[in-house]
Symmetry: C2
Subunit: 479 residues, 2 copies
């Protein structure tokens, strides 16, 4: 039934790109590695943004905007950090028709410039906490771009907070991790494992990095969002000091956390099938497509279309926004109209033809299961509501079941290697190795430690080094 | 009464910067000419954005995102356009650790790259119209930056539409001009004159440029938003062709339109006074500040604060969002707390002390007039609503009266020069000169043609050339 989509079993990578193409989510830009986010993709990003932004504001955060260009010297201040990004930078050397005295880097992240401003704004404990978030474009040059997953430019949010105490900063780090987990599971229907990164996978400069890890439908892992406890590392590098209540000068405790347009990639690879995109209802810009169908113009204009618009109004009212779309693409064949919405991932399609009208019912078709049912007119709002809730649950459960079915245990390097090669998926084990040992595992198996789950405090013997009290750790190949 | 603010009569330019500083709207960034938009300023931008974005969507537009870097060759495609921007460009020459084969320009505007994508997306009349808007950062290198008015980087929206017919494109151009006018007057309370630009002030490449021109409180003009009818100029430069209903290839008709963070500068210079910022209620992120005041902790906690929170809930419900702020800065003296909100431009302040509580009233203080009144508890929502409406009206009328009082007529170059030098303000005249003659006028008087008002179709003899049938034109010094 798929049109213009390579089956995922044939070529997963091509399937992914085909989904993006037929749903018109994005396109490659004329600049290497950059993307154009097309209206359908951008409306999805707006919907994702709104859920996160509301949650940030509810937890006391405010938005601000910092400059896109950063003096090169700023990146040198914090040596450890630079090593992480330097080859990825796009560098402005000329501006205003002149060679610049100091090159400027297009922000790969705004830690440094925000740190610089915080050192100016923060004087006393009364100025703390500072709870700022920024929605912005960032740039990390990519040699092998992949739409939404790795592009030279992408959109994201970066939270940067400064606190008077270590405890408060750690609380913030975990609070935002929980915000991420909640939205990913409850809105995006993506099951995630919440955990701590191992030393080798930590954000450069962070004391601790926490992550939400998801399993894609090819069994590879995708890091969907991270929250960093930076201790006093950044405040030392950027001289963010404040006078505490005792009158002493102290370095502030900082955090940072971010999610990006990569989440769109995660949505595609978690839920979609060989027919195209599948969107979970709570994040779908169009939750219900309503299609009046008839070749009889007067029936269409006098009966079907008015009825479709009436359903649209009622459903929008119930859904609390404009989440329905009345399809008026009458120049297209009904089958093409069905496929249009199916490929765009619309969770529920309501078809209304002359026979339906006579029967006083509308035909509802679920995107996730393809199942159909006829709903009496008077039941439409309530039944649609229930169906949308069920679609969310089904998508979440389906993805969770898939992850559980593809999670294995290993107690030796050989076992890990065999599982990764032959089955794929997540591999649970106990691990207490160094970053060098992580590198060795990666070279031998292709897998990296994704995280040490927070809700699993069991310890055991390290599968690699034999050290005792090693923490439960998940390994997988990752995007 | 002003604190840390230079009176506008002493030094307008410093007054403007002081307002921004005390209201914490923005700060200079460590990169020349760039700004940091602080949380108070950014929440104002978010409020402005929301009003425009809603109106764009209501008129059928969708958002999308195009890359921040543009190949230098794109800017050369359309020679006329380049001349307008080239010295303003920031140029990326290195990326990924290598010298790029072709330099990339940080977008000064996205016409070129959007044109490039449109040429790929548009094949047939069925693909038209394309009604896309982008919210983005853009960069035009500034040697003499001024926060919100001229910064090397700023935030804006740029609408870019393509149509099958000239009529439809012209209709779109004027429709968006009207959207701008409506929001500027009805939300920002900024009276604007809607008009057409003269040839010398037109956007490079445009057939017609339309503008909303406002008068600032120093009598200078500020171009608050523009809408361009581009004819087929851009579609020829970027090969945007489509097959029309007759089966012929035709170039599309395009438009573009934009407003930017400059509107924040316009808000400041239209409404504010020597005490600080004044925000019109409909765009103010905080419309009402509620201040419980007492040195008695138990009265505060048991009586005043609960009452303040109750008012806050009721008012938010009435206003349809979180537009109130309950001030809990109890470590500050009452006078400092009043000033805090006054300097941030909050339209209405409600003070609630022990005496007010006893009398069953709350004291309301208007930011625009300073007038005070005691409102009985039960009348608070209705009276606040009426006061906010009146504040909007008063701010608009005050600005309109100011503009009318500072608009003069001239019928010779000498008159124009004298008015501009001695009085300032807008000067109405009839003009039919060339771009070279506009330049001459500018050199002699400092004034430029701001626009030819759309609602004034009178013609007369050109004040400069003596040509007949010249259109009514407004001249002024401008930001
Ligand atoms: Zn950084
Ligand atoms: Zn351009």
């Amino acid at each position: 039934m798929a049109r213009n989509i390579t089956p995922k079993e044939t070529d997963y990578s091509q399937w992914y790109l085909d989904i993006i193409k037929v749903a018109e989510l994005a396109d490659y830009a004329p600049v290497r590695g950059c993307m154009v986010i097309r209206p359908t993709g951008y409306s999805l990003w707006e919907s994702i943004q709104k859920h996160f932004d509301d949650a940030f504001k509810e937890t006391g955060h405010v938005n601000a905007y910092f400059p896109v260009l950063i003096p090169n010297s700023f990146l040198e201040k914090e040596a450890e950090h630079v090593e992480g990004f330097s080859p990825e930078c796009a560098v402005v050397t000329h501006a205003g028709g002149e060679l610049l005295e100091e090159p400027l880097v297009v922000r790969p992240t705004s830690e440094t410039v925000i740190g610089h401003m915080y050192s100016k704004w923060i004087q006393s404990w009364r100025d703390l906490p500072i709870l700022i978030n920024q929605w912005a474009n960032v740039m990390r040059w990519e040699k092998r771009p992949r739409l939404f997953l790795r592009t030279s430019e992408f959109l994201w949010q970066e939270g940067h907070t400064a606190h008077a105490t270590e405890e408060e900063a750690m609380e913030e780090t975990l609070k935002m991790l929980e915000v991420y987990r909640r939205i990913m599971t409850e809105i995006l229907a993506i099951p995630v494992i919440v955990g701590e990164k191992t030393a080798g996978e930590r954000f450069p400069g962070a004391v601790n990095t926490y992550t939400c890890e998801a399993m894609m439908s090819d069994k590879k892992a995708l890091q969907a969002g991270t929250s960093h406890f930076l201790g006093q590392n950044f405040s030392r590098a950027f001289d963010i000091q404040f006078q505490n209540q005792k009158g002493e000068q102290e370095y502030a405790w900082t955090t940072s956390w971010g999610v990006s347009t990569r989440l769109i990639g995660a949505l595609i690879m978690t839920h979609s099938d060989n027919d195209g995109l599948i969107l979970p209802p709570r994040v779908a810009p169009v939750q219900v497509a309503i299609l009046p169908i008839s070749t009889n113009d007067s029936v269409m204009e006098e009966q079907l279309l008015p009825r479709a618009l009436e359903f649209s109004d009622k459903l929008d009212q119930m859904l609390g926004g404009r989440f329905t779309f009345v399809d008026k693409q009458f120049h297209m064949r009904p089958g093409d109209r069905f496929f249009y919405h199916l490929q765009k991932g619309v969770p529920l399609r309501l078809e209304l033809g002359e026979k339906d009208l006579a029967a006083g019912t509308v035909r509802a078709v679920r995107r996730d299961t393809g199942s159909k049912e006829d709903i009496p007119f008077e039941n439409v709002p309530l039944r649609v509501k229930a169906l949308l809730e069920d679609i969310h649950k089904n998508l979440y459960t389906r993805a969770l079941d898939f992850r559980i079915a593809n999670t294995f245990s290993a107690s030796t390097l050989e076992e890990l290697k065999v599982i990764v090669e032959e089955k794929g998926g997540f591999v649970e084990t106990y691990f207490a190795g160094t970053p060098e040992e992580e590198k060795k595992i990666r070279e031998e198996t292709g897998a990296t430690p994704r995280c040490m789950p927070l809700n699993d405090t069991c310890t055991g013997t390290c599968f690699l080094t034999g050290k005792p009290h090693a923490r439960k750790t998940i390994f997988a190949k990752a995007y």
